[in-house]
């Protein structure tokens, strides 16, 4: 075993750098600290991790240590331990995987990985790696961000373009916020394919993902409990509607999620955009939706000034109440229980790389939900580091 590794390392020409024959271990880490003040003008829930009209540091504070061990030219092992404020600083293994690299261009990874739905999915927690304090929350709208299973990453080139193909398959049991409650979510046959094309100043990405999911029914929302009680027995001339309850419950929902995005970094200008859509076979509490953002930034020395517009829109299908009479007061109740918002957000921000491996960021954002008339302003700052 030992001699085989020595040969592997010698072949790579790394014998000078990796004198320890057993394994080369790399330690890396990142941390973010900061805080934000969420000024809610009407309604709650637009900046869900921040408390109402108070200063909160939890949404930003986090620290992670990553260790990678290259065992030989074929196998490496990576683990990333992350403690973050939104999880009460409980240390959690965000990534745990073993990589098989049959050649320089192919990696097969097994374990707990990031679910690669978006451009920034892979390094969502690494604030230092992107311009904002956090990725646009109207678009990056899921509370889960991992998958347990396997993936394959293949790097190649098409003429002068560098290409990366990724396919993944797995399952995830986690939590998703719904009606202000963190509810167990079970995502099965979670799989997808994405590819990235890049050339100098331009990067393009497309992803297509499918899954079957269940989310437990919320228990602590009084309005919802009253609605379910009302629907389970007849009222006056109107019958009970157990099928409407069943439609609302999130069981065995088949979802397809796709996204396309582009990143341009041309001289001092930065432009980032992503468009995403979630399509589910049947309406439940969760509606089909679409969300996108566009960011424009200008680098002035060590300072990046940027502006981002983002929009999220639910597209509910109300046919699940078509069996109910227009006169039945429970019909509007059932229809108002599904996700139905149309929110826009404008964010202005600044990133200042004031020291090596350290960036200071400050942002103001204004979010507006046209359908429910919710409004909130958020002012936040952070210091992001990598080490």
């Amino acid at each position: 075993m030992k001699s085989k590794i020595n040969i592997g390392i010698a072949c790579m020409g790394l014998n000078m750098i990796a004198p320890i024959a057993s394994a080369e271990i790399m330690l890396n880490g990142f941390a973010s600290v900061g805080g934000g003040f969420n000024d809610i003008q009407n309604g709650d829930g637009l900046n869900s991790n921040y408390s109402e009209d108070k200063f909160s540091a939890d949404p930003i504070n986090k620290i992670a240590i990553q260790s990678s061990a290259v065992l030989n030219s074929l196998v490496s092992v990576t683990g990333q331990l992350l403690a973050k404020g939104t999880e009460d600083y409980t240390v959690d293994a965000e990534w745990v995987y073993l990589t098989l690299s049959p050649d320089d261009n192919l990696d097969l990874r097994f374990g707990r990985l990031r679910s690669p739905l978006f451009i920034y999915s892979d390094y969502l927690d690494v604030g230092y790696a992107y311009p904002w304090i956090s990725a646009p929350n109207l678009v990056y709208r899921f509370t889960f961000d991992t998958v347990e299973g396997m993936d394959a990453l293949y790097r190649s080139s098409l003429g002068k373009w560098d290409t990366t193909y990724q396919v993944f398959y797995g399952r995830l049991t986690d939590e998703q916020e719904l009606f202000g409650e963190e509810l167990p979510i079970d995502i099965e046959n979670f799989s997808g394919i994405n590819f990235t094309l890049s050339k100098g100043w331009l990067t393009l990405r497309a992803s297509y993902n499918i899954a079957t999911f269940d989310i437990d029914t919320p228990q602590s929302n009084p309005g919802l409990n009253a609605l379910f009680a009302g629907l389970s027995s007849p009222i006056g001339p109107f019958p009970a509607y157990p099928d409407v309850i069943e439609a609302l419950e999130i069981t065995d929902e088949k979802a397809a999620f796709y996204g396309v995005g582009a990143q341009i970094h041309y001289e001092d200008w930065i432009f980032n955009t992503e468009y995403t859509e979630l399509n589910i076979d049947e309406q439940s509490f969760i509606s089909d939706d679409k969300a996108w953002y566009a960011m424009l930034g200008k680098q002035i020395g060590s300072v990046l000034v940027h502006a981002t517009y983002s929009k999220h829109e639910d597209e509910p299908d109300f046919s699940f109440t078509s069996g109910m009479s227009e006169m039945d007061p429970r019909r509007t109740g059932a229809e108002s229980a599904v996700l139905n918002s149309e929110t826009t957000q404008i964010k202005l921000g600044l990133r200042y790389d004031f020291a090596d491996s350290t960036a200071f960021k400050v942002e103001v954002s204004q979010s507006d939900d046209d359908k429910s008339d919710r409004k909130a302003n958020l002012v936040a700052f952070s210091i992001d580091t990598v080490f």
Binding site: M12, G13, D104, V126, D356, A359, V386
Partner: protein, 143 residues
């Protein structure tokens, strides 16, 4: 001001001039490889090698080596060949490191260490100030 101090000021000025000028104006970065290496790399390929995007040239593994952070030659190389500042590169690598996709090139402490390492390893590519070039390595490009 007497003549003596004036002269010493001139001397200091000349020293500062000598120290600054080659780095600021005349410095040329020499990209180097092992003497046995018949490699020809385009500036574009070189950029991709140092950004971890290209790991083989003509079917042969290539391992890039950096000078340590803070070295003026490294800064020059980053700007001329990679077209990026140190903090843009740090951000770029953090995206790959924390997703387990790649590690940045190894650093060496000094140009003499770079020369020694390149002279011994046929697969490595590095860079030094062109004025420090020795016959122990082969010049494959200069910027």
């Amino acid at each position: 001001m007497n003549k003596q101090t004036k002269r010493s000021w001139n001397f200091i000025f000349a020293l500062v001039w000598a120290a600054l000028v080659p780095a600021a104006v005349n410095a040329e970065v020499a990209v180097i490889a092992h003497p046995s290496q018949n490699l020809t790399v385009s500036p574009d390929e070189l950029e991709r090698i140092f950004l971890g995007k290209l790991k083989q040239v003509d079917g042969q593994s290539i391992v890039p080596i950096n000078l340590k952070m803070g070295s003026p030659v490294r800064k020059d190389f980053n700007e001329k060949v990679l077209g990026k500042t140190e903090s843009q590169l740090k951000s770029y690598w953090s995206r790959l490191v924390f997703t387990g996709k790649a590690q940045p090139p190894k650093d060496v402490e000094s140009e003499s260490e770079m020369l020694e390492l390149i002279a011994r390893n046929p697969n490595m590519v590095g860079y030094i100030d062109k004025s420090n070039l020795t016959p122990a390595v082969k010049l494959i490009a200069s910027f």
